[in-house]
């Protein structure tokens, strides 16, 4: 029985168990003088039986699925011919892949090599026995669980409480997935990055100024030794993010001020959703716009005034990224500006200030922590933004502060290093994870600071 079928059967059994449990509860209630005699509703009893039926069985299935690869690979290691085993781990896994490919049809009869055939048969039989044993075990567990649960049905049994305990646990584990995700990100990125730092020193990575990740595939190749100095990438990322913030902060802030302080409710109701459209447009669309409309326009404009603008200039990518971030800055600033108590504005008006003086001298200083927090979040967005730079910024790792030249960023390099075919443990691929680690750490720090600032600000006026 395949795993999918087994799970289906278990769930079907659980459904039957639910119906039976509920009926049983009704009967028990009837014997004891009506439904009022039951502590819990019949459906609670039914659910309880269904849970006892399904959960242990599913736990067994999942447990086996986790343990199976380990068991199989230990068998392979134990029985692999010595001539292969002495060539190390990679030879073994290659050998195993060959066998797996041949027994994919379910039979080892066609294999020529006798050693391979013996091992192939062994693997097949282990899998088959495993699957049969698993099915039997799971179904027994399901039946046993259901039977035990049915025996517990009585007028005084608190089925509701026991069902709710399980549901409660389920809710808690769903909430904990957030932690698992973070953990998964940290571990996956960290492990690969550590493997990278074994090949390339950490110091070289963060202080080196030459980035050319093409490593030699064969030892006798010349000229592509690979060098992993990531400083040009950091410079490129900062340059583009800086340009983006140069666009996003003034436009975002001023539109937020206008919307929060000057605009009539009608204007606000029209303009805010329009700004949100800008936030909802996928980044790949911005990338296309930057690469095929803005960049050529900038280049032509540069030529007409005698400047040489690269067709993949940092300026085009940064400016379009800035446009993308405007609504982000504007909505966060709008929130904090509207949160400034009206009494502070009234005080300022009473002293004779005009509205703009009130805004510049009272409202903005009061909202400043929140605005700064919002801007920090926007910076972390700009740093992590991928598609716009992949499509509109270049691949040339250049250390320059000239926005008219092509630069590359951390995210562009991650995408370039990881798309296409490659083996997974070369320094080139692992470098992407090291870059990912840097990206994650930097954005995490920015986010934590920003969230702290925003939260403290919010408490101040609550």
């Amino acid at each position: 029985m395949s795993t999918a079928v087994l799970i289906m059967v278990t769930l079907a059994l659980a459904a039957c168990a639910f119906v039976y449990g509920r009926q049983r509860a009704w009967r028990v209630a009837g014997d004891a003088g009506g439904i009022r005699a039951l502590h819990s509703l019949p459906s609670h009893h039914g659910t309880m039986v269904a849970m006892w039926c399904a959960l242990p069985a599913l736990a067994i299935v999942i447990g086996w699925k986790i343990a199976e690869p380990g068991i199989i690979s230990s068998i392979v290691h134990a029985e692999v011919p010595a001539s292969i085993a002495q060539n190390g781990e990679r030879a073994i896994s290659l050998y195993r892949n060959q066998i797996e490919n041949q027994i994919a049809g379910g039979s080892a009869a066609g294999i020529q090599d006798p050693d391979m055939q013996r091992l192939g048969e062994r693997l097949l039989s282990v899998r088959q026995t495993g699957a049969t044993a698993l099915s039997a075990l799971a179904l027994i567990a399901a039946g046993l669980g259901a039977a035990l649960a049915v025996r517990r049905i009585s007028t005084t049994f608190r089925a509701r409480a026991s069902v709710e305990r399980v549901v409660h646990f389920f809710l808690l584990s769903c909430a904990s997935i957030a932690i698992l995700t973070t953990l998964g990100i940290v571990l996956s990125v960290l492990f690969e990055a550590l493997r990278f730092f074994q090949q390339v020193g950490f110091l070289e990575f963060v202080t080196g100024t030459r980035w050319s990740p093409q490593t030699a595939i064969r030892a006798d190749q010349i000229g592509s030794s690979g060098s992993f100095g990531a400083v040009p990438l950091f410079v490129g990322t900062l340059l583009i993010s800086f340009i983006a913030m140069l666009v996003a902060v003034p436009f975002g802030l001023f539109s937020a001020i206008y919307l929060a302080e000057y605009a009539t409710p009608r204007v606000r109701n029209v303009v805010k959703p329009l700004l949100e459209i800008l936030a909802g447009i996928p980044t790949v669309v911005y990338g296309f716009f930057a690469a095929l409309t803005v960049a050529p326009a900038l280049r032509d404009f540069g030529q007409s005034i005698g400047l040489s603008v690269s067709s993949e200039s940092a300026l085009a990518a940064g400016a379009v990224m800035g446009i993308m971030i405007i609504p982000f800055v504007s909505s966060l600033s709008d929130d904090v500006i509207t949160a400034v108590p009206q009494s502070m504005r009234d005080g300022s008006y009473a002293l004779g200030s005009t509205q703009s003086e009130t805004i510049v001298k009272v409202v903005i200083p009061a909202a400043l922590p929140g605005i700064v927090g919002g801007i920090l979040l926007a910076v972390s967005r700009a740093i992590g933004e991928t598609m716009i730079v992949v499509m509109a910024a270049g691949l040339a790792a250049r250390m320059t502060a000239n926005p008219l030249e092509a630069v590359t960023t951390v995210t562009v390099q991650i995408v370039t290093l990881l798309t296409g075919d490659q083996e997974f443990d070369s320094a080139k691929t692992l470098a992407a994870f090291a870059l990912g680690l840097m990206l994650f750490v930097v954005t995490l720090v920015l986010n934590v600071i920003a969230l702290q600032v925003v939260r403290r600000y919010r408490e101040q006026y609550e």
């Binding site: 769903c174 904990s176 995700t181 539109s255 909802g280 996928p282 669309v285 986010n447």
Partner: protein
């Protein structure tokens, strides 16, 4: 509120007060002006000239102090009102500029993309000659598929323009045909093998260069001033066909029923649309129940302790982690560790659901929080247990808000590209994916792939694909807004 939290506020105000006092002390003229006119404005009186000037004027005795101060206030007022107007203009300008960026973006995409929805077809008069085809009506479908349909279409073109005799002329002539013509013919013949041996008139897609030329409405009779890669000879033939009505521009159905293709006139978004559909389905099935459960736990049951704090901090941070990092997670964990298939909507859906979880959790919590406590108390008063309170009363009332958040999260997932590049959903997909483990691509990735293609015709395809993507996003957001409007309750 604790004392610590009060501190920043008080010191802030303190500073402001101090600054005001210092300003007043160093600027007697300003202070007097304020006293006379009854305004205190700060900045406008800071000018260094005001203080030292005043004693001089009083010394020479020209006019009364009150008049002069009044005049100064008047002139200051003018300046201040001008500053006020300027400031307002900045705000208006920022909004106008932002909105015109939006307009520019949409106009540039729509104007580029609209031509892709129509396609140039040409009429072909083919003789389905069994000898040229190499198959006949009694063959099986498999054999029919191997027929030489290209030869038949080429023969039809030669027949139409017998004057093309030299090798290069013939090659140029065949250049007007799209490979789509062969596929169309093959489809017809396989559907009805009896056609072999007969003469058939059919409309087939034209080559993309020719197609673009016809769609642009250029006057083919006058080849000067037409920018194209086609030769004058080819333009002449095209003009001939156009004159006899053998070229026609129609709605481009191919775009919606084909997968990707190397030929722009045959490329379609069907495969990407289906891939997006599968991916989004997985995302919804995973993220919705998990996010709602997590939100219920955090909002209704979570005790105030370290673990809850940790969960909340994590959710808030995950909402701001760059999407590409989720792609790295997917690559390292799901593909390299769990050996799930590369390029599959299954993995894409899992990664995207991890990414959208925080969005949905946060909006679901807001929705749950907005249900008034009286509902909970009433239910509890009737003997409902904690879970019954939540699942029978609070959750249904919060559902519109939760669904709105879910749709917005899914719209985000639909437009996401970067993490999917990491898990290999950048494949060249011609066939429509049949299941969640087939290699497939999604709409935004298709946009990314086409945007890289050198052919000019792919540019309009890209824009058209973007228009389809935006149409979906607009529909989803409109649905969310409608849900909110229709079911929102003010307590």
């Amino acid at each position: 509120m604790s004392d610590e939290n009060n501190k920043p506020g008080t010191t802030d105000l303190g500073k402001r007060e101090r600054a005001g006092r210092e300003r007043g002390a160093g600027d007697p003229g300003g202070a007097m002006a304020a006293a006379v006119s009854g305004t205190l404005t700060g900045g406008e009186h800071r000018g260094g000239s005001a203080g030292p000037d005043l004693p001089n004027h009083t010394g020479t005795g020209q006019g009364t102090a009150g008049d002069r101060v009044g005049a100064r206030v008047q002139s200051g007022l003018k300046r201040r009102y001008a500053a006020e107007r300027r400031f307002r203009m900045y705000g208006l300008f920022a909004i106008a500029a932002t909105l015109s960026f939006l307009a520019l973006l949409l106009i540039s995409i729509v104007s580029k993309g609209l031509p892709a929805f129509s396609q140039t077809y040409m009429q072909l008069d083919v003789m389905l000659d069994a000898d040229t085809l190499g198959v006949d009506a009694s063959d099986s479908a498999g054999q029919l598929r191997g027929g030489n349909y290209g030869g038949v279409t080429k023969a039809a073109m030669r027949e139409r323009f017998p004057e093309a005799e030299s090798r290069s002329d013939k090659k140029a002539l065949y250049g007007l045909l799209s490979t789509g013509a062969e596929y169309e013919l093959a489809r017809r013949v396989i559907a009805d093998p009896e056609l072999i041996g007969q003469r058939l008139q059919l409309w087939v897609p034209a080559d993309d260069e020719l197609g673009a030329l016809i769609k642009s409405g250029a006057n083919l009779a006058d080849p000067d001033g037409i920018v194209t890669r086609m030769s004058d000879r080819q333009i002449g033939w095209a003009a001939d066909m156009q004159a006899t009505g053998e070229l026609d521009v129609r709605f481009n159905r191919t775009f919606f029923i084909n997968g990707d293709s190397r030929e722009p006139e045959l490329a379609g978004i069907r495969a990407a649309l289906i891939g997006s559909g599968y991916t989004l389905l997985i995302t919804f099935l995973l993220s919705f129940p998990i996010a709602v459960s997590a939100a219920i736990y955090l909002e209704e049951f979570a005790p105030q302790n370290k673990w809850t704090d940790l969960v909340e901090v994590n959710i808030n941070n995950l909402a701001a982690v760059p999407s590409i990092v989720f792609g790295l997670l997917g690559l390292a964990v799901f593909i390299n560790f769990f050996h799930l298939p590369r390029s599959a909507p299954l993995v894409g859906g899992i990664v995207l659901s991890l990414m959208t979880l925080p969005t949905i959790i946060i909006s679901s919590r807001v929705a749950l929080k907005s249900v008034p406590p009286s509902i909970r108390e009433a239910a509890r008063g009737l003997g409902a247990s904690d879970l019954q309170v939540v699942f029978h009363h609070v959750l249904p009332l919060a559902m519109p808000g939760i669904l709105t958040g879910t749709i917005i999260g899914l719209a985000q997932a639909l437009g996401e590209t970067a993490p999917l590049l990491m898990i290999g959903m950048v494949a060249f997909i011609v066939d429509i994916p049949q299941s969640i483990t087939d290699a497939s691509t999604v709409l935004p990735v298709q946009v990314y792939l086409w945007a890289d293609s050198p052919e000019r015709a792919f540019m309009e395809k890209t824009s058209a694909a973007i228009m389809v993507l935006l149409a979906f996003l607009i529909c989803m957001n409109a649905l969310a807004v409608m849900l909110r409007k229709r079911f929102e309750r003010r307590w």
